[in-house]
């Protein structure tokens, strides 16, 4: 069964460093999302991406964050200058139907655990 994959599974970085989290969505999906989950807390939306542009972003997704779909298969989240509070599990999700469509379900990847020291 097709699934969303993410690399790396774990990343440790120093505060102020740039990190790139990578995702390969399910191949025929067109809608892509990033969420994060700080340890023990709820899952929070970061950004949605469709048609090669950001569709919606949360207040968490400030100028330090960016997303890109550099080719037909990868979807990346970049954090330019990491802060301690960026430590979290980052989930990528994809969907073959858009928001509002009755068939829409977001399928989540296994996550990247980011630790900022």
């Amino acid at each position: 069964e097709p699934e969303v994959t993410q690399t790396p599974s774990h990343q440790v970085t120093q505060m102020g460093q740039e990190v790139i989290l990578r995702c390969v969505p399910i191949s025929n999906h067109l809608y892509f999302y990033w969420y994060r989950q700080i340890l023990g807390q709820k899952v929070e939306f970061l950004v949605s991406f469709y048609n090669n542009e950001i569709s919606e972003k949360s207040e968490i997704f400030d100028d330090q964050f960016s997303v890109e779909r550099p080719d037909g298969s990868n979807f990346t989240l970049k954090i330019r200058s990491t802060k301690l509070e960026d430590s979290a599990m980052y989930f990528c999700a994809s969907s073959d139907w858009g928001p509002g469509d009755p068939q829409e379900t977001q399928y989540f990847g296994p996550g990247t655990r980011l630790l900022v020291l």
């Binding site: 899952v43 939306f45 509002g100 009755p102 829409e104 379900t105 977001q106 989540f108 996550g111």
Partner: protein, 110 residues
């Protein structure tokens, strides 16, 4: 903005027993999702509920939606250890983003 609340936050139950997890939401949500998360793992989609009165069942889990009461329930029948996980409900308020509840950590013991 949509707010989603779940209760209980923690649930420890004996195998074979029944229980219900409640998910309340604050404003109109065009649908309601239930996800399961095992420790350190991703979120697995369980149910999508689209309309008032919707009921879906898979194995020992049954989810329902009452849009008038802004309430969804996840009912567990005759719990087994394999159901131990954290269960999240999530709604959406005519935007792209899913708004997740706080999660209910379920532990089933013999």
């Amino acid at each position: 903005e949509l707010k989603v609340e779940q209760n209980p936050l923690f649930l420890s139950m004996q195998e074979g027993k029944n229980y219900t997890i409640y998910c309340n939401y604050s404003t109109t949500s065009d649908r309601l999702y239930w996800y399961r998360q095992d420790p350190g793992k991703s979120l697995e989609s369980l149910f999508v509920l689209l309309s008032n009165g919707a009921v879906k069942q898979e194995g020992r889990l049954m989810a329902s939606l009452d849009t008038k009461a802004r309430l969804s329930t996840l009912h567990i029948t005759a719990a087994v250890h394999d159901l131990s996980a954290t269960y999240f409900c999530a709604g959406r308020e005519n935007t792209d983003k899913l708004i997740f509840g706080t999660g209910t950590r379920l532990q089933v013991f013999p």
